[in-house]
């Protein structure tokens, strides 16, 4: 029966294992052998996403492990801030907090990058991006995925995506430190206040995008007010929830913009530190 409401015996009976198969071979479905019939360039979005993320991973891995050229007064690379090990370069008035002492021999970036990396890895937008782009689960809407089984985020390790909110809290702290670094950018190379250069602008743009991306997060939206049932009893949180909701609509754009800006800010410091050019000063 086409639209009947009587469940089929096979579906509900414990004696019958659930039917298996996918869009091409599940019993009873239209016999169409193609895994999809889309004629548009559906592969473009996941392909571009995978390429963009892969490029960032390569770049950030190189920079995080290089352990050099991350400070050019007054700028410190966002990959190395805050610097929590003893082997950091001395940054006058900068984010040198040697919590890890002298035993840490690797790049200090590896300590702090865990937090923004975890924040982005568990981010609801990036999950969509890499599930589609790298894992093809699915590669695009109505395009069959290649995997025989699927359990989603029910089991380890993907069940750990549920700790996104804790990375959000950590990302807030990192954003505060990066804001401090941006403030330090209003000094000159001699650490005198009241100056500004092109690097200051690069850092300002970066920190604005970092903050927008961070507070447009779905977990932030939930914490701010999404978990409430009666907005009318919490008018301030309701307004904040509305504001975060508007930002949240642009979460994908902000994710990409902040990813690019943080790489640009780091590369700018790298160029200054390697002497490729001098920071143009405005005043």
């Amino acid at each position: 029966m086409a639209t009947g409401t009587t469940p089929s015996a096979e579906t509900d009976s414990p004696d019958h294992p659930p039917a298996s198969g996918g869009v091409r071979d599940a019993p009873g479905r239209a016999a169409i052998s193609a895994r999809h019939l889309r004629v548009d360039r559906w592969w473009l979005a996941p392909g571009a996403t995978a390429l963009g993320l892969f490029a960032f991973v390569v770049y950030s891995t190189w920079r995080a492990f290089s352990n050099s050229d991350y400070y050019a007064a007054p700028y410190v690379s966002p990959f190395y801030s805050p610097c929590l090990a003893d082997n950091c370069e001395t940054m006058k008035g900068g984010p040198n907090w040697e919590l890890f002492g002298s035993w840490w021999g690797l790049s200090p970036a590896l300590i702090i990058l865990i937090f923004p990396l975890g924040f982005r890895l568990t981010c609801y937008y990036y999950r969509k991006a890499y599930y589609r782009g790298f894992w093809a689960s699915p590669p695009a809407c109505a395009v069959a995925e290649p995997h025989r089984k699927y359990t989603g985020e029910k089991r380890f390790p993907l069940i750990l995506q549920n700790i996104h909110r804790y990375f959000f809290y950590a990302a807030l702290l990192v954003a505060v430190v990066l804001s401090y670094d941006t403030l330090l950018g209003f000094r000159n190379a001699e650490y005198e206040w009241g100056h500004m250069g092109l690097g200051t602008v690069v850092f300002l743009v970066n920190i604005v995008l970092i903050w927008l991306y961070t507070i447009s997060c779905h977990s932030c939206r939930h914490i701010i007010g999404g978990r409430l049932r009666h907005f009318s009893k919490h008018p301030v949180r309701y307004r904040m929830w509305g504001f975060v909701g508007k930002l949240n609509e642009r979460h994908m754009s902000l994710a990409w913009a902040s990813l690019v800006s943080v790489a640009v800010a780091d590369f700018y410091v790298y160029l200054l530190a390697t002497g490729a050019f001098d920071d143009p000063r405005f005043f």
């Binding site: 298996s20 869009v23 239209a30 016999a31 019939l37 689960s137 699915p138 109505a142 985020e153 029910k154």
Partner: protein, 323 residues
């Protein structure tokens, strides 16, 4: 004191819209199916043979033989068959300005394939009956304009590929009704009688977005959890009904929790919210523009995290209850 508008009366009655909707949809679709069956003269599985004059090899052409210049002949490929098998058949069919794909399917029924089965009703994007896949994308036949295609395009129309086919473009969507029945309905607050419900607009507007759902089941069809894995149908309710869970969990007057029904836990453990990997295909295909993933599924996942995966929230709730 709040200055917000109050929502009162019928909207807040302790009815069970979740239980009513499928039944209503069911009867509407049953009527349409009957209409389709009435239109079909041939036995199940009969396929139409394209007229020689409109053979599939004939390229689409501009028409100037007395028809307006805005008319042309389009190349359609339509899946014909039943659960035993079927194939895509080619048709060349007239298209006129302003028409939608459903118009063309009707023209095929009228001129070349009288036994072509298709389910439809309102032709206005509000009944959710004419769901199908057009060039591989889940869409409503009545809301897909022919002007979105080039004249030379081949337009392929198939039934929904996540559900068992009945015949031609008609599928058996009863999986969705089964899932609808599994969602516990609205639980009225014990201390209020019907007619005494009062809700503030800001408290209900989140849920109102979800009430726009026309139950076309395009989201259910495109969701890879069941589309690509038939075995998951037992344990996964699908985006439409997880959205229903979210709607009820956000409802300002739902008293399920007070009566021992934890919608958050049941969404995760009984209705398969954990299967969702938020790839947003449900949102992409929704003809009503409901932001299913961002406004229903992710908030529900966060509420589940509150309940099951966040020790701080758990601790906070314990302390608050003690005080």
């Amino acid at each position: 004191m709040s200055t917000s508008n109050e929502v009162t009366g019928a909207d807040s009655a302790p009815d069970d819209p979740g239980a009513e909707e499928p039944a209503a949809g069911s009867s509407a679709r049953a009527a349409n199916e009957s209409a389709s069956e009435a239109a079909t003269g041939a036995p199940s599985g009969t396929t139409a043979v394209p007229d020689q004059a409109t053979a599939p090899d004939t390229p689409p052409r501009d028409v100037s033989d007395g028809r307006p210049e805005t008319s042309y002949d389009a190349h359609f490929r339509v899946w014909r068959g039943d659960p035993e098998g079927g194939r895509l058949e080619d048709f060349t069919v007239e298209v006129n300005e302003g028409e939608v794909v459903l118009d063309i399917i009707h023209r095929l029924q009228a001129t070349q394939a009288g036994d072509l089965a298709v389910r439809w009703n309102c032709k206005a994007g509000k009944c959710g009956s004419c769901s199908a896949e057009i060039n591989g994308r889940p869409r409503l036949l009545c809301m897909t304009r022919m002007s979105t295609f080039e004249r030379a395009d081949v337009v392929t129309v198939t039934p929904l590929r996540a559900f068992p086919v009945v015949r031609d473009l008609v599928t058996d969507v009863s999986y969705n009704y089964t899932k609808a029945r599994e969602i516990p309905s609205f639980v009225p607050p014990a201390e209020l009688a019907p007619g005494e419900y009062r809700m503030q607009q800001e408290d209900v507007e989140r849920s109102q977005e979800f009430r726009k759902c026309i139950e076309c089941f395009l989201c259910q069809d495109t969701c890879h959890v069941v589309r690509d894995h038939e075995e998951n149908k037992q344990s996964f309710a699908g985006p439409r009904f997880l959205m229903r869970q979210a709607e009820l969990d956000m409802h300002p007057l739902d008293a399920a929790e007070e009566q021992g029904l934890d919608r958050k836990t049941s969404a995760q453990e009984e209705h398969g919210l954990g299967y969702c990997n938020i790839t947003k295909c449900c949102t992409e295909v929704c003809p009503e523009g409901i932001r299913i993933t961002d406004n229903a599924l992710i908030p529900m996942k966060e509420r589940v995290a509150d309940r099951k995966y966040d020790p701080l929230v758990w601790l906070g709730n314990k302390i608050r209850r003690r005080s």
